[in-house]
Subunit: 140 residues, 2 copies
Amino acid sequence: MPNTFETAAEKMIRQCGGRVTTGRVRILAVLLTEQQAITHREIEQRLLGKQSLDRVTLYRVLEWLTNKQLIHKVVSDDRVWRFHANHELHSHQHAHFKCNSCASVICLDKLPNERDWSLPVGYQFQEIELTVKGLCAKCV
Amino acid sequence: MPNTFETAAEKMIRQCGGRVTTGRVRILAVLLTEQQAITHREIEQRLLGKQSLDRVTLYRVLEWLTNKQLIHKVVSDDRVWRFHANHELHSHQHAHFKCNSCASVICLDKLPNERDWSLPVGYQFQEIELTVKGLCAKCV
DNA sequence: CTATTAATGCAACAATGTTGCAACTAGTAT
DNA sequence: ATACTAGTTGCAACATTGTTGCATTAATAG
Ligand SMILES: [Mn+2]
Ligand SMILES: [Mn+2]
Ligand SMILES: [Zn+2]
Ligand SMILES: [Zn+2]
């Protein structure tokens, strides 16, 4: 049977009006299979064995997918970006959890309300970046 | 008159039981003068002219001051750490604001309540990292 | 099928932070 | 004051992560 994630990935890419290249399809397919947000390195590893893909291309595809809002990027204190597919649940702004032990990152649902922080006068709110940290179920 | 911030810095360092070196004093003094969280590079610039200080030493002093909780470190999407002195107001956990235009970072007071996000079963909360982004008063 | 334009691979680069180790120095004991 | 010692520093080399320029290749339109 053909990889059903690759089929889905191809459809998503075509729908947003982009060129359907094997790199884009394979990378988005990898992200669609993952429950967690994963790093550039982890994506590279999951692509091993198959036809090679340059790491610069991987960076550029990830940027493209992020701009097209097919995936989103999670920043972290370890200075490594993590990426996750935008399933419906996570297409809006949301918080993330990062395990202090194994560094795994998952998406959370809620986001605190604007009344929970207050900006100085004259400051304009645009977005929020929230990472809750602690221990995941495996590391607890 | 002697630099009052250096006097304060020296006292803080001595109080926490660390060796009082000129590097530590000068770096903490710089951070005490700043309203905002500033980067390693920005600290370097403010130390120019005086007796030179190796950038590795700067990294190590910043780490030491952070561990001693005399300053705190702010992570950011641009992969650059910013540091800020722990004035009383900011000695507890708190959120930060980063300007999307000029990249300036300030400390906020409030932090959302734990009921504003929910972790999966088995996950253990430890800390929170919140950055609100938007435009500062100068850039608005 | 061909032309056009976007995407890719490769090499070099940039930015930020880290490690190992010898030399130095602040604090302390004599 | 002098010597001792552990903590601190400077330097060089390195590591990691991401970026840029440019020639080549491939996807799509006609
Ligand atoms: Mn997410
Ligand atoms: Mn702060
Ligand atoms: Zn974990
Ligand atoms: Zn600004």
